[in-house]
């Protein structure tokens, strides 16, 4: 019992420290990520792709009625 308790205590300590170390590492990784990711946000490739996305969103809206037909068919078969 005594031994089990001390083992549980060690696991508690080890575990919490590991969780904090791990998530702190992730925190640091996120800082790197942000620096890495934000910079090319403004380059042409990305803006192109975001333009493409807008267009496709428009297409999606345009196609709403088409899509509704499918839903309707499925529901009213």
């Amino acid at each position: 019992m005594q031994q089990q308790l001390s083992e549980a205590f060690t696991i508690m300590l080890t575990g919490m420290i590991t969780v904090f170390v791990f998530l702190t590492l992730l925190l640091m990784a996120m800082a790197l990520l942000r620096r890495f990711a934000i910079q090319p946000q403004t380059d042409t490739a990305t803006s192109q792709s975001s333009a493409a996305r807008e267009t496709s969103t428009d297409n999606q809206r345009l196609a709403a009625i088409t899509a509704a037909v499918h839903a309707y068919r499925r529901d009213h078969e």
Binding site: M1, Q4, L5, E7, A8, F9, I11, M12, T14, G15, M16, T18, V19, F20, F22, L23, T24, L25, L26, L27, A29, M30, A31, L33, R34, F36, A37, I38, P40, Q41, T46, S50, R53
Partner: protein, 376 residues
């Protein structure tokens, strides 16, 4: 006459024991909680129904040839169902609020103290006669404090399958009880002035950051905690499908039909573990008590950590958001928002609480990996 006897012997009436009836009552209570009280109905309804089916004498749902037996063997024994649920949850999760305010990761870390303290508590409970939890049992029980259903089921199926039913029921029940359990603790540990603190608006997060984040999480996990990679990996796969923008049809299916199908089966299989032999004993009471303690400690740790961070932070931090670190997405974040509004009617904390909330999901998956590594 003989034929009537055959029929009679095949009725449950002749074979019923009070334990079967008691377990069906447990199933009925779960159905009541799910339908009437709206306690996590997506899981508790199939769990409750599965509990009833599993305890019908002579029906053999849990034996080879019975449907619950097959579902359990295929989906829980293998760990596949909770992992698929986790993939779907990943595909539903927006890490934007966490990426906008990365420090809230630490709140998701602090709240995991609920898990590890409960592990200690479960072992301490062995001092009381009638309790005899092994270290594996204690770890499986402790994960209830992670406030995350699939993580709890996955870990319990690996470490302590006998307790799976009670652990899953406790996990989902307490997740549904978050609006009742958390507010008193949150109010106890904070002043009204602290609860009224408004936080700065979150920055916009770019798509590239969102795509790289699940990969970064996976990378760190595989380096340092390979035992957590099943959970974290499937979660990150779902999230990557969501954010990549090129596999929308897969992402939609993972978030809808696939997770729905698996949820029905997972619930039934968990319910099938609610047998009298494994549920009707004092250990279950212990598990329920420990689960409540785990939630309470997790909530308190999150809030205290937020207070500590607020002291060292330039930007204002409302300590309430620490409570969302237990996960229970998105219920805990909504509770934070509500308690915040009570203190300051124009204080909307929902998005600020979503950061620690999703951090809590990662945190408990990481904690599960640690427990698997240490006691698995």
């Amino acid at each position: 006459m003989e034929r009537w006897l055959t029929l009679w012997q095949s009725t449950a009436l002749s074979a019923f024991g009070w334990e079967d009836a008691a377990m069906m009552l447990v199933g009925a209570i779960l159905l009541f909680l799910a339908i009437r009280k709206k306690f996590e109905p997506l899981l508790l309804l199939p769990i409750g129904f599965g509990a009833i089916l599993a305890n019908i004498p002579l029906a053999g749902f849990n034996e080879p040839g019975g449907i619950l037996y097959y579902i359990y063997v295929v989906g829980i024994d293998t760990g596949v169902f909770p992992l698929l649920i986790f993939m779907g949850v990943g595909a539903m999760t927006d890490f934007g609020p966490l990426l906008a305010n990365p420090r809230t990761l630490l709140l998701g870390a602090a709240a995991q103290f609920g898990i590890f303290a409960t592990l200690f508590g479960a072992i301490a409970l062995n001092a009381i006669p009638g309790f005899d939890f092994s270290m594996q049992d204690a770890a499986a029980i402790a994960i209830i404090g992670g406030a995350d259903g699939p993580t709890a089921i996955f870990l319990a199926s690996k470490l302590s399958p006998d307790l799976l039913g009670a652990i899953a029921v406790a996990a989902y029940s307490y997740m549904a009880l978050v609006p009742i359990i958390q507010p008193p603790i949150m109010k106890l540990l904070t002043t009204k002035a602290e609860r009224a603190v408004r936080m700065e608006q979150l920055r916009q997060v770019g798509q590239r950051e969102k795509i790289l984040f699940p990969l970064a999480v996976l990378f760190l996990t595989l380096l340092f905690l390979p035992t957590a990679t099943p959970l974290v990996g499937m979660f990150c796969l779902g999230n990557l499908m969501r954010e990549a923008g090129v596999v929308e049809r897969l992402s939609k299916t993972a978030q809808n039909e696939l997770i729905n199908i698996v949820t029905i089966f997972l619930g039934l299989a968990v319910g099938s573990k609610l047998s009298a032999a494994e549920f009707l004993n004092v250990q279950t009471l212990g598990i329920l008590a420990l689960g409540a303690v785990a939630f309470a400690i997790g909530t308190a740790s999150g809030v205290l950590m937020a207070k500590l961070m607020a002291r060292f932070s330039k930007a204002p931090i409302n300590p309430l958001i620490g409570a969302a670190g237990v996960s229970a997405v998105p219920m805990a974040a909504r509770v934070v928002n509500k308690v915040g509004l009570d203190a300051n009617q124009s204080n909307y904390l929902l998005m600020h609480a979503m950061g620690p909330n999703v951090a809590g999901v990662l945190g408990s998956a990481v904690a599960a990996g640690i427990l698997l590594a240490l006691v698995g």
